[in-house]
């Protein structure tokens, strides 16, 4: 495998960009971020749409899957990339947010803005409920349990009439107008911009937490959980915090999505979506926000771009993933720390990997 990679060595443009970014002064970085936001705002443009997605409606794809995937990926990144917890059932929180919007909107007549905080609390609560018994597990065991949770949510929705059963829930209200901006059925752009605002707010929150004792603790837990515990880090509590925070973000995305599509069905929330978002995080460069955003964009955009291939587009997508794993397993835009972790071997997954430590035991000799 490495012989193959060596022969096909592609000069990396990422490292020079990374170094340029490091040398950039504070105002320069803010300028770049501002530019990125401006570009995102200008993105739903007819001309760009012709180029990027001649077969589909560009603005629609921009909202879903692209912007929703970005929001989900940023949320999953907190769990997987920052705290190093392998969550294979992230779609569950997306679903809970969606069903909260659907049920409270249709049965209780609440509007979007009333539902949003409730949905966030609900998903955060479910993250707490899931995490409390399961976060004592590590590696593969945590992965299996979270995968199970994801499926349980979907199957419960499918089999419960009060939740709409297999037909789901229809008639979900759109968000109320904000001044001249009308949230209708056809135009995806207001929803896109709303999601953009959510993404920016979430990124700001995540960055701030990253630069605090909690962010440091998450890195420490990823690097050596037992040593972190010995240094006074309340590892269980902080892992739970990552889980709950990620869940709340997933729920937010769920509310946004449901408010546009009018109707949701359990099949909107398959396991495959958890996988897609995980791919977005890992391929983008686990832990690194720009990377994760890029990863989500790619994972959301490529299958749409290749729609003309019908079913074969999923095959192509799979092939692209395999190629990534061979030639650039650290992701498209890995952080420097990520590259260092990958160089260590073990797939760069740190505690995510197959290694499972017996409760109470350490690797220290007696």
């Amino acid at each position: 495998m490495s012989a193959l990679r060596a022969r096909l060595r592609v000069p990396s443009i990422i490292e020079p960009i990374g170094r340029w970014w490091d040398r950039l002064p504070s105002w320069g970085r803010w300028a770049v971020r501002g530019l990125a936001v401006v570009l995102a705002v200008l993105a739903p443009n007819q001309a760009i749409g012709e180029f990027m997605a001649p077969q589909s409606d560009w603005a629609t794809i921009l909202f879903y899957p692209i912007s929703i995937y970005v929001l989900l990926a940023v949320g999953l990144n907190v769990v997987v990339g920052m705290a190093g917890l392998l969550d294979l059932g992230y779609v569950a929180f997306f679903a809970i947010g969606g069903y909260a919007m659907a049920l409270l909107g249709t049965k209780m007549g609440w509007n979007f803005w009333e539902i949003l905080p409730v949905a966030i609390l609900l998903t955060a609560g479910s993250g707490l409920a899931l995490g409390t018994p399961t976060l004592r597990l590590r590696g593969d065991y945590l992965a299996i349990v979270t995968l199970g949770f994801g499926e349980i949510v979907r199957i419960t929705a499918q089999n419960t009439n009060a939740l709409g059963g297999p037909r789901g829930i229809a008639g979900i209200p759109h968000p109320p107008d904000i001044g001249p901006i009308h949230f209708g059925v056809i135009d995806p752009r207001p929803y896109y911009y709303l999601t953009l605002v959510a993404i920016v707010l979430v990124i700001v929150m995540v960055r701030r937490i990253e630069a605090s004792r909690i962010g440091r603790a998450w890195v420490a837990i990823r690097e050596d959980e037992d040593a972190a515990e010995a240094m006074g880090v309340p590892t269980f509590r902080y892992k739970l915090l990552a889980f709950v925070f990620g869940a709340a973000i997933g729920g937010t995305a769920g509310v946004m999505f449901a408010s546009k599509v009018i109707a949701i069905v359990p099949d909107n929330y398959p396991f495959l979506l958890s996988v897609f978002i995980l791919c977005a995080v890992v391929l983008g460069g686990s832990g690194n926000l720009p990377g994760v955003i890029l990863g989500a964009f790619v994972v959301g955009y490529l299958p749409e771009r290749f729609r003309f291939l019908a079913e074969y587009r999923v095959l192509l997508f799979g092939a692209a993933l395999v190629a990534m794993m061979i030639f650039r397993p650290e992701g498209l835009l890995p952080s420097r720390r990520r590259r260092a972790e990958m160089a260590e071997g073990g797939g760069g997954m740190g505690r995510l990997g197959a290694e499972v430590v017996e409760a109470g035991a350490t690797k220290v000799e007696a």
Binding site: A217, A230, M231, E341
Partner: protein, 257 residues
């Protein structure tokens, strides 16, 4: 008057294996106690029991007058016990100063909410943490490599970084597990001086060490373990000449009665 640390009849069984057998240990404030014994004697197991990683099969451990029974390791650290590891467990991809900051965070209280909104306590703790971390790196003598990635540091610096990180948790009692391992004589002298400075700062030290010269120079008292049992205890000179200790380390001649 109660001691700072008291182990009473502490036993640790792993299935059929008795790793520590009815151990009594007392440590007074300001002491440097050495814990020595052949490999496999149970010394690190004692550390793991004190720090809450293992729960003793029987016996009691009390620190500062309070029982440590059933406390999670991070709470033991918060109660004032810090440690280093036999085979250095730094956070390899974090910088030296970040490693120490994690230790310093043990004394911080900022919440996620305060961090997100940049509230005063968050900012104050971040500033304070940096200041303390730099001071500690200087204290152990590696101030100049603060921004270096931990795994790239030379071995001796890594050992000192681990000590700085443990000190950042503001321990009353510091457990050092073979801190002199792999050091050259020069480094060992510096380490001895550092440990003395740590004691002068008002801390108590429990030291596992194989290097006898370091142990003899540094320790006020020594406890000797063999097969999980304490076989001797006392001042260095006394222990050095103890028959049981000599036999444990060197064995008994084949033709002994």
């Amino acid at each position: 008057m109660s001691s700072l640390l008291e182990l009473r009849e502490v036993t640790m069984r792993f299935g059929g294996v008795v790793a520590v057998d009815q151990l009594d240990l007392r440590l007074e404030v300001g002491e440097i106690l050495g814990l020595i014994g052949p490999n496999g004697a149970g010394k690190t197991t004692v550390f793991n029991m004190i720090t809450g990683v293992y729960r003793p099969t029987s016996g009691t451990i009390s620190f500062d007058g309070r029982s440590m029974a059933g406390r999670a390791p991070h709470n033991v650290t918060r109660a004032g016990i810090g440690r280093t590891f036999q085979n250095i467990r730094l956070f390899p991809n974090m910088s030296a100063i970040e490693n120490v900051l994690v230790g310093a965070d043990a004394r911080h209280h900022q919440s996620a909410f305060e961090a997100i909104f940049g509230l005063p306590r968050h900012r104050a703790e971040e500033r304070d943490g940096r200041k303390v971390a730099h001071q500690l790196l200087d204290f152990v003598g590696i101030g100049q490599v603060a921004e270096e990635t931990a795994k790239n540091l030379p071995y001796g610096d890594q050992r000192r970084l681990e000590i700085a990180r443990a000190l950042a948790t503001e321990p009353k009692l510091l457990l050092l597990d073979e801190p002199a391992a792999g050091m050259n004589p020069n480094e060992k002298n510096e380490l001895e001086a550092l440990i003395r400075r740590i004691r002068e700062g008002g801390r108590t030290v429990l030291l596992i060490e194989h290097d006898m010269s370091v142990v003899m120079q540094l320790c006020d008292r020594i406890s000797v373990l063999d097969f999980g049992r304490k076989i001797a205890e006392g001042a260095p000179a006394q222990v050095q000449n103890d028959q049981a200790v000599i036999e444990a380390y060197l064995g008994v001649p084949a033709d002994a009665p």
